[in-house]
């Protein structure tokens, strides 16, 4: 059973990625179309994620489709001990496409093997969240006019940050230079640095979020530094304010600079940045709608 699914960003070739971005451009120009008329999408959220679920459900609704599903495993039969396989098989009888978030890693891959309708992975534990990666790429291309030859600073938790790992994996198709800016405890793991070496991605690493890095960046991708990630709380206290972006730090930054963040933000981007035109994280989230419209309609062969 191998319907077209989107489980991992590495499943997509460069051409497939660009096709989604091009389709998303079309949906941004015209987000209300009736191409999903008569189709049912199931959103199965075994783990709550309001932001992602609303984005996917809005994508379906604006294309004229209907949505069924659950937003929390507590209201599904998995609490009665039903296997994932059985839940997927049952829902496959009703829906044309399944959009799922699961707390277990690899859940979406397994689901795609037990059904013949498309699966969209809306996050499987700490593993993959490919629609986030595609909307990040869309936001970069839209604001910079290209994906290649950029200076991209990834800032914050680069050890556990799923979004930055997936972004790196996708950027192997689009040569740019990366700056990994993280406290030592949350540095980019060795396997991703090796991935960069293997794929000719240039990178620099530092534990200092310096003015120099900000001033030469085209994109600053901020992530949250979470207290619970630290084994040494003294270390957390020492670095917690060192990875916060404030508006006055942007004074000498490039005109084309845009600040991205996968959201939710806590305090790593100060509120005073929000009114700076270089702040792009809320538009970035809106781009997720168009990208998800592109993903769904592409998997259903409607475009």
């Amino acid at each position: 059973m191998s319907a077209k699914s989107l489980v991992s960003i590495s499943d997509y070739s460069k051409e497939q990625i660009l096709r989604i971005l091009d389709l998303a451009t079309g949906f941004e120009a015209c987000p209300n179309q009736r191409i999903l008329e008569g189709k049912v999408a199931a959103t199965l959220f075994f783990e709550p994620s309001t932001r992602t679920r609303l984005s996917f459900e809005t994508a379906v609704n604006r294309l004229g489709g209907k949505v069924i599903g659950f937003s929390d495993a507590a209201t599904s039969s998995s609490t009665k001990g039903e296997t994932l396989k059985d839940t997927i098989k049952m829902v496959s009888n009703y829906a044309d496409i399944i959009i799922m978030r699961h707390y277990l890693e690899g859940a979406a891959r397994y689901a795609s093997q037990v059904t013949d309708i498309p699966i969209v992975n809306a996050g499987d534990g700490a593993n993959q969240h490919p629609s986030q990666t595609l909307l990040d790429l869309y936001s970069i291309r839209k604001t910079q006019g290209r994906l290649e030859g950029l200076n991209i600073a990834l800032v914050g938790d680069l050890k556990y940050g799923r979004t930055v790992h997936s972004l790196l994996m996708a950027m192997k198709h689009f040569p740019s230079t990366f700056y990994f800016v993280a406290p030592e405890e949350l540095a980019m793991p060795a396997e991703y640095k090796q991935f960069c070496r293997d794929n000719g991605i240039k990178w620099h690493e530092t534990s200092v979020f310096s003015q120099e890095i900000i001033n030469q960046a085209d994109i600053i991708y901020m992530t949250r530094v979470q207290k619970e990630r630290f084994t040494d709380l003294v270390e957390y206290e020492r670095v917690k304010n060192a990875f916060i972006l404030r508006n006055n730090m942007l004074d000498n930054s490039r005109d084309n600079l845009k600040i991205l963040h996968p959201l939710p933000r806590v305090n790593e981007i100060a509120q005073d940045v929000d009114d700076n035109p270089k702040a792009y994280y809320f538009q970035q989230a809106r781009n997720g709608l168009y990208v998800r419209q592109a993903i769904i309609s592409s998997l259903l062969d409607l475009v």
Binding site: S8, L104, G106
Partner: protein, 152 residues
């Protein structure tokens, strides 16, 4: 009269001899190949002296031959094993074990949050490094080093 210090198990007429199995993995090999569930004659020797590996195990299975992907399932635990195919008392083929590209079952994923550790399903791994051995889970995408590999 045969020299008693050279006591041999009975020579095999037709079948397969698996030699150079690490002694501590011999019974695991028996179970992976399901030799405990077959009717034909099986002779097992273990802790035999080996110049190559100190101590070794050997298994002779009468009237039974193995497909390549079947026998390669023991590559993870007995990478140096040699497979001799016997017909009419003669060794007609000698094979060494080869690690397949993909491994189904056998190994428990090191990641407790992997779907394979939480659903009644068969795990699956891609061999992404051979020396040192590195496996990548086809589901959660975690990579496992040799030390982390635990058999099911």
């Amino acid at each position: 009269m045969a020299d008693k210090s050279e006591m041999q198990v009975k020579a095999l007429k037709n079948g397969t001899v698996i030699d150079h199995i690490p002694s501590d993995k011999l019974f695991k090999v028996v179970s992976i190949l399901k030799l405990d569930k077959i009717d034909s004659e099986v002779t097992i020797g273990n802790n035999l002296t080996s110049r190559l590996m100190g101590r070794k195990g050997i298994i002779k299975i009468a009237d039974r031959y193995f497909e390549e992907d079947e026998i390669n399932r023991i590559a993870l635990i007995a990478p140096k094993a040699k497979i001799n195919t016997i017909r009419d008392y003669e060794v007609v083929e000698k094979k060494i074990i080869e690690l397949p590209e993909e491994i189904s079952g056998l190994v428990r994923c090191v990641n407790p949050k992997c779907i394979t550790n939480n659903e009644p399903m068969e795990p699956c791994y891609r061999v992404v490094g051979r020396s040192p051995l590195t496996l990548k889970c086809c589901y959660c995408e975690h990579t496992m080093s040799q030390e982390e590999i635990k058999l099911l």
